[in-house]
């Protein structure tokens, strides 16, 4: 599986990328594969305050609904509206067109609590045993 080194990850399988004063977030390839067939995505309203580790969006596969957790706390400044019409982008391009939202972080320290690609991968391996 592909876990880009430029991204950080949450144990709950979200990825985060630092941009210009914002953090972009989406679901890791592992999450995408586990979900399979994403058919519905529910995104937060712009301006909503989210908390690290708390639900900020919903993703539904054919089988069930799952929460997406905010990788950092802050204000939602942008959401990927394209996902509402084309939720399968989460499966086909999880690190690109399948992004979920942009957060303007309120706690600078939180970024460092996220896992780098290597650590995330070893967490996945541990939970597989």
């Amino acid at each position: 599986m592909n876990f880009p080194k430029t991204l950080r990850y949450a144990k709950t399988h979200e990825w985060a990328r630092r941009g210009d004063g914002v953090v972009v977030a989406g679901l890791s390839e592992y999450a995408q594969k586990e979900l399979s067939d994403v058919v519905y995505v529910e995104l937060p309203a712009i301006g909503k305050e989210v908390k690290q580790g708390q639900p900020c969006a919903v993703v539904e596969s054919v089988k069930a609904a799952f929460d997406v957790y905010a990788p950092v706390s802050g204000k939602v400044v942008k959401v990927n509206k394209t996902l509402e019409a084309n939720p399968s982008l989460v499966n086909t391009d999880s690190y690109g067109e399948g992004w979920f939202l942009e957060i303007e972080p309120s706690q600078t320290g939180e970024w460092d609590s996220l896992l780098d690609a290597g650590t995330y991968e070893s967490v996945l391996q541990e939970s597989a045993h």
Binding site: S36, D37, S61, K63
Partner: protein, 367 residues
Amino acid sequence: MNMSLSEVKKLPLHAEHERFRANFMEFAGWTVPLSYSSIVDEHDAVRKNVGVFDVSHMGKILAEGDRASDFLEWVFSNRLSKISCGQAIYGLLLNPEGGICDDVIVYKLAPNRYFMIVNAGTRERDWEWLNRNSDGGVRLTDQMDSLNILAVQGPKSPDVLSEVFQCDFHHCPSFSCREVVFRNEKILIGATGYTGERGFELFAPVGISTELFRAIFERGAPFSIRPIGFGARDTLRLEVKYLLYGQDMDTETTPLEAGLEWTCDFSKDFLGKQALLKQKENGILRKLVSFEIPKGGIARHGYEIRRKGEAVGRVTSGTFSPSLKKAIGLGYVPVDLSTIGSEFDVMIRERAVKARVVKAPFYRHAV
């Protein structure tokens, strides 16, 4: 009671499913394949070509003896005398109150010899119930561990079986059944299924089931055959409004409420008939309806149904229909909300989302 992992049983063909890299799930005390690739791909494969389900978790009961016909005619809601040897019939086991104990398919093998497929979750209760209601003259045999069930479903299923058994399966009427010999063992094959497609269910001795499984995939390869998990089984059956016992019906619901009156033959006597006649007279209060949700999410089992903010029912099954590309579901609602076109709200994550009653089945195969 908590079921520990050790009590979850594995199917006899578990290793075969592992070879196909199945993702597993637990269902009615069994570890069963959830999917092998993607639920949508598997669903489409059955609608378009052919797929194989291992449904060996289901209960298998043989009923035979001088009074087998009389006995089953009493405990089974549909009229068994309607069918001949080599045919099968769908119907219900009801309790005296008219509640649904199980939905079953009965295959008539010989004049006083019947084979019954019951649900996994109700198998033990059915077994006890049947034994309690039998008064001699009928011998019941639990064939749970001796038989395996493979469902070969999809428009190309007759092609595959014709190749595997070297005889014609293109002209088997729906709900017919026959015996074939494979590796010197008898296999019962019913033209039945749970997908809304042409298809067959194969009841084979466990001892040859691995060989049979492999032969089906070998001979089925030219027809793009693939293994199908329980994820797609649920979307396929829901699209054609085949009910799932324990979800869409149980002992608290009657056939009149569940829309299964067609499985009850009121011209004969059967257990539960009097209660149903009374309910017919008094009228029912709620009804199982098929609905779709144009936008705003997917209804799931257990979600609340509301009318003008008031809770009036529950979703019993809900999913995203891969064939129709929209959210569909079943649920019990007050009778006055059950007509086609009626609207109500389904509570999805504390939001009221509009649902509309539609005609069932949601999906009809273009034959």
